[in-house]
C-alpha cells in the first residue's frame, strides 16, 4: 500500500503542476502541454488503482490506453485550432483571444 500511496502522490503532484501551468501560462501551446500533464496524472491513477485494488481486471489499463489515444487526437485538433487562432489574431496569447463572450 505504501507503494500505491507513493505513486498516487506522484500523480497528485503531476495533476496540480498541470493545473498550475494551465492557470498561470498565457501561451496556448504551454496551456496545451499543461492539459496533457493533467491527463497523464489521470492515466497514472487508472493504472495504479487497477493494479493495486483490482488486479484481476483489466478495465483501468484499457482506459489509460484509450485516454492516450484520444489525447493524441485531441492534441492534433487543439494545435489545429491554435493555428487557426493565430491566423486570425496574429497571436497565440490567451489574453488577446477573448471575443467568444457576450
Amino acid at each position: 500500500m505504501t507503494e500505491m500511496k507513493f505513486i498516487l502522490s506522484i500523480s497528485f503532484a503531476l495533476f496540480f503542476i498541470g493545473a498550475y501551468g494551465f492557470l498561470t501560462r498565457r501561451n496556448m501551446i504551454t496551456m496545451l502541454m499543461a492539459v496533457e500533464l493533467m491527463l497523464n496524472a489521470v492515466n497514472i491513477n487508472f493504472v495504479v488503482f487497477n493494479k493495486y485494488l483490482f488486479a484481476d481486471k483489466m478495465d483501468g489499463l484499457f482506459f489509460s490506453i484509450f485516454i492516450t489515444t484520444i489525447a493524441a487526437a485531441e492534441a492534433a485538433v487543439a494545435i489545429a485550432i491554435i493555428i487557426n487562432l493565430y491566423r486570425k489574431f496574429k497571436s497565440i496569447d490567451e489574453d488577446d483571444i477573448d471575443t467568444l463572450r457576450w
Binding site: A19, R26, I97, D98, R101
Partner: protein, 655 residues
C-alpha cells in the same frame, strides 16, 4: 303541424342572409361603385321584405292555428357551442306571432329607409359606407327578433348596438355626433351589463338558454326548477326576480326608459333616416320585444312585472313633458318615441296572461306595430323638412305647407295617428292600451290619459310650427334668410314614395284585428270596442290638439307668456329635468374623482411600479451575470477548479 310543413319556413334565413351579403359587398367593394350600393341595398331589402310578407301570410293564413294556438315554429336550429349535454348555445330561427310581426315591421321600415336614403343621402361622401352600415343594422335587428335562444339574442343585441353606434357617429367629423355615438354606446352597453347578468342568473337556474325551454320550465310554479329559482334569494329578493329585473335593465337601456334614456335624444345627431329606422321603429323597441319574449316568466314574478309597468308609465309621462318644450324637431320626435315606448312597456306591465286578460300584451304589440309605421313616417317627414330647410330648429321653419304639400299631408296623418284620432292606426292601438290599463290599474290609466293629451299637444305644436305659424321664407324677423326655396323642390321621388307608402300603412294598419293574431298565451280573442274609454281617449287627444291649435296656429306671443308663467317648471323641462347634468355630475365629479383617479394612480404607481421593479431587478442581475462570460479561458478554469474543489469537499466532508 307536420314536419314537412315546418320545414317550409327555412327560406326565412334568406331574410337574414341578404342584408348580411349586402353589408359585405357594399362594405368591401362599395367605394368602387358608389351609386350601385344604394340600389343594391334597397333591392336586397325589398326581397327580404317580400319574403317576410310571404312568411307572415303563410304563418297566419296558411299555417294557421293548431289547437287554437299559433304554434312556435323552429325553422332552423344549429348547435353552436355545447357546454354540457343540456346547456347549449344554438343559432336558430324561431317563428311565433311576435317574431313574425317584428320581421314584417323591421323589413318594411328598413326598406322604406333604404329607399328614402337614396334621395336623402345623395351626394354624400361615404354613401356606400352608409348603406353598408344600414344593411348591417338590418341584419342584426332581424337576427335579434328571430332568436331561438337568449344568448343568440344577446349577440344580435350587441350587434345592433354597434351598428347604431356606427350610424349615429356617421358624420364623424362633427364632434357632437361623435360624442352622441359614444354616449349611445356607453349607456346601452352599461345597461347590457345588467342584461348579461340577468341572462346568466336566469340560465343558471333554468339550466337552459333556450327561450322555449326557459318559459316552459318557469311557467310551472310547482316545478322544482321554479321553486329553486324563487327560493334562492339575494338581499331579500329572489334570484328569479333579480334575473328579470336585470334583464329589464338591459331592455330599458335599449328602449330608452327612464333613467337610461339620456342617449336617445343625442342619438338624433345621426342622419335622419337612421333615426327613423333605429331610434324610432326598430332598435328602441327591442326592449319591449325582450320583455314580450319573456313575458310568461315576467307573469310569474309580480315584482318584476310591476317594475316594467311603473318604469314604462313614468317614462311615458316624463318624456311627454320634456317633448312639449324642445325646439329641435328631431329631439321632439325622440322624446315622443321614448314616451310611446313607455306606453308599450306599461301596456305589458298591466297585462295578464290568459285569454282576454292578455289584452295589454296584444295592445302593446299592436302599438309597437302602428308606432313603427307612423313614427318612421314622422321621422322621414322631418327628414324631408330638414332636407328642405337645412335646419333642425323649429324657429327656422313655419308656413311650409304650401312649399311641401306631400310632406304636409303625410305629416298631418302621422300626427293625427299618434294623437289617437280615429280612424287612424294610433287610435286603435292606444285605445286598447288605455282599456287594458283601465281594467288593471287606475293610476296607470290616469298617467296614460294625461300622456295621451300631452302627446297630442306636442305633436301638433310640432306640426303647426313647421307647416303653419308664420309665412315662409322667414325674410323678416327670423333673423336670417333660409335659402330653402331657391334651389330645390320639395323632395325627390325616392323620398316621397316611402312617405306615401308609410302614410297608407298608417291609415289602414289600425283595422288589422291584432288580438286575433298576437296574444300573450297564443289564443285569439276579440278586443271588444268600448265606446266610453274610446271617447275619453279621443277627448284627451282632442284637448291636446286644440290647445296646440290655439297656441301655435298663428304666430303670437301666447306660448312665450305661458312658458314665462310656468317659469321654473318650463325651464327644467326644457333642460330635460337636468338628468344629463345629474349624470355628468355623477360621472365627472364622483366617479372620476373618487374612483377613476385613485384607480389611475394605483395603475401608474403600484401595478406599473411592480412591473418596473421586476424588470429592473432582472436587468441588473443579468448585467452582473454576463460579466462572468468574459471570454478568458483562465478565468473559466479558475471557476471550474474552485467549484470542483468545493464539490469534492462537500462529497468528502458533508455526505
Amino acid at each position: 303541424m307536420t314536419k314537412t310543413k315546418m320545414n317550409n319556413y327555412s327560406y326565412i334565413s334568406f331574410v337574414l342572409i341578404i342584408p348580411l351579403m349586402v353589408f359585405l359587398i357594399t362594405g368591401l367593394f362599395g367605394k368602387k361603385l358608389p351609386a350601385l350600393s344604394g340600389i343594391l341595398g334597397t333591392v336586397g331589402m325589398l326581397i327580404a321584405a317580400c319574403l317576410s310578407y310571404f312568411a307572415a301570410y303563410n304563418y297566419f293564413m296558411v299555417g294557421g292555428r293548431v289547437d287554437g294556438l299559433y304554434p312556435t315554429v323552429i325553422a332552423f336550429k344549429q348547435t353552436w357551442l355545447q357546454f354540457s349535454p343540456s346547456l347549449t348555445i344554438d343559432i336558430g330561427i324561431m317563428l311565433d306571432p311576435i317574431s313574425v310581426m317584428m320581421l314584417v315591421v323591421v323589413t318594411t321600415v328598413s326598406f322604406m329607409v333604404h329607399l328614402y336614403s337614396i334621395g336623402y343621402m345623395h351626394g354624400e361622401e361615404r354613401y356606400s359606407t352608409y348603406y353598408a352600415f344600414l344593411s348591417l343594422f338590418s341584419f342584426s335587428m332581424l337576427g335579434l327578433v328571430i332568436s331561438t335562444n337568449i344568448f343568440q339574442m344577446y349577440m344580435f343585441w350587441e350587434l345592433v348596438g354597434v351598428s347604431s353606434f356606427l350610424l349615429v357617429g356617421f358624420y364623424y367629423n362633427k364632434p357632437s355626433a361623435v360624442a352622441a355615438a359614444k354616449k349611445a354606446f356607453i349607456v346601452t352597453r352599461f345597461a347590457d351589463l345588467g342584461f348579461l347578468a340577468g341572462i346568466l342568473i336566469l340560465s343558471f337556474y333554468s339550466e337552459s338558454l333556450d327561450f322555449q325551454t326557459i318559459i316552459h320550465r318557469m311557467m310551472d310554479s310547482n316545478s322544482p326548477i321554479f321553486m329553486n329559482a324563487n327560493a334562492a334569494s339575494f338581499m331579500g329578493v329572489s334570484a328569479l326576480t333579480w334575473a328579470l329585473c336585470l334583464i329589464f335593465i338591459g331592455g330599458a337601456g335599449k328602449s330608452a326608459m327612464f333613467p337610461l334614456h339620456i342617449w336617445l335624444p343625442d342619438a338624433m345627431e345621426g342622419p335622419t333616416p337612421v333615426s327613423a329606422l333605429i331610434h324610432a321603429a326598430t332598435m328602441v323597441v327591442a326592449g319591449v320585444f325582450l320583455v314580450a319574449r319573456l313575458f310568461p316568466v315576467y307573469m310569474q314574478i309580480p315584482a318584476a312585472h310591476d317594475l316594467v309597468m311603473y318604469v314604462g308609465a313614468f317614462s311615458a309621462f316624463f318624456a311627454a313633458v320634456i317633448a312639449c318644450t324642445q325646439t329641435d324637431i328631431k329631439r321632439v320626435l325622440a322624446y315622443s318615441t321614448m314616451s310611446q315606448i313607455g306606453y308599450m312597456m306599461f301596456a305589458l306591465g298591466v297585462s295578464g296572461y290568459w285569454g282576454h286578460g292578455g289584452l295589454g300584451f296584444s295592445a302593446s304589440m299592436f302599438h309597437l306595430f302602428t308606432h313603427a309605421m307612423f313614427k318612421a313616417l314622422l321621422f322621414l317627414g322631418a327628414g324631408a323638412v330638414i332636407h328642405y330647410v337645412h335646419s333642425n330648429e323649429m324657429g327656422d321653419m313655419g308656413g311650409l305647407r304650401k312649399k311641401m304639400p306631400v310632406t304636409n299631408a303625410v305629416f298631418l296623418i302621422a300626427c293625427l295617428a299618434i294623437s289617437g284620432v280615429p280612424p287612424l292606426s294610433g287610435f286603435f292601438s292606444k285605445e286598447e292600451i288605455l282599456t287594458a290599463a283601465f281594467e288593471n290599474n287606475k293610476i296607470i290609466y290616469a298617467v296614460g290619459l294625461v300622456t295621451a293629451c300631452l302627446t297630442a299637444f306636442y305633436m301638433f305644436r310640432l306640426y303647426l310650427t313647421i307647416f303653419w305659424n308664420k309665412p315662409f321664407p322667414l325674410s323678416e324677423g327670423g333673423g336670417h334668410e333660409v335659402p330653402g326655396d331657391v334651389h330645390h323642390s320639395e323632395a325627390p321621388m325616392t323620398m316621397k314614395l316611402p312617405l306615401l307608402i308609410l302614410a297608407i300603412a298608417t291609415l289602414v294598419a289600425g283595422f288589422i284585428p291584432f288580438s286575433m293574431y298576437v296574444s300573450a298565451d297564443g289564443t285569439a280573442f276579440e278586443s271588444e270596442f268600448h265606446i266610453i274609454p274610446a271617447l275619453v281617449a279621443v277627448t284627451a287627444g282632442l284637448i291636446g290638439i286644440f290647445t296646440a291649435v290655439f297656441l301655435y296656429a298663428k304666430k303670437n306671443d301666447k306660448p312665450e307668456m305661458i312658458s314665462a308663467a310656468l317659469g321654473g317648471l318650463y325651464r327644467s323641462a326644457y333642460r330635460k329635468f337636468y338628468v344629463d347634468e345629474l349624470y355628468l355630475f355623477i360621472t365627472k365629479k364622483i366617479i372620476f374623482n373618487f374612483i377613476s383617479t385613485p384607480a389611475a394612480w394605483i395603475d401608474k404607481n403600484v401595478v406599473d411600479g411592480m412591473m418596473n421593479l421586476i424588470a429592473d431587478v432582472t436587468g441588473n442581475l443579468s448585467e452582473s451575470a454576463k460579466t462572468l462570460q468574459s471570454g478568458k479561458i483562465s478565468s473559466y478554469v479558475m471557476w471550474f477548479f474552485a467549484a470542483a474543489i468545493v464539490l469534492s469537499m462537500m462529497i468528502v466532508y458533508v455526505f
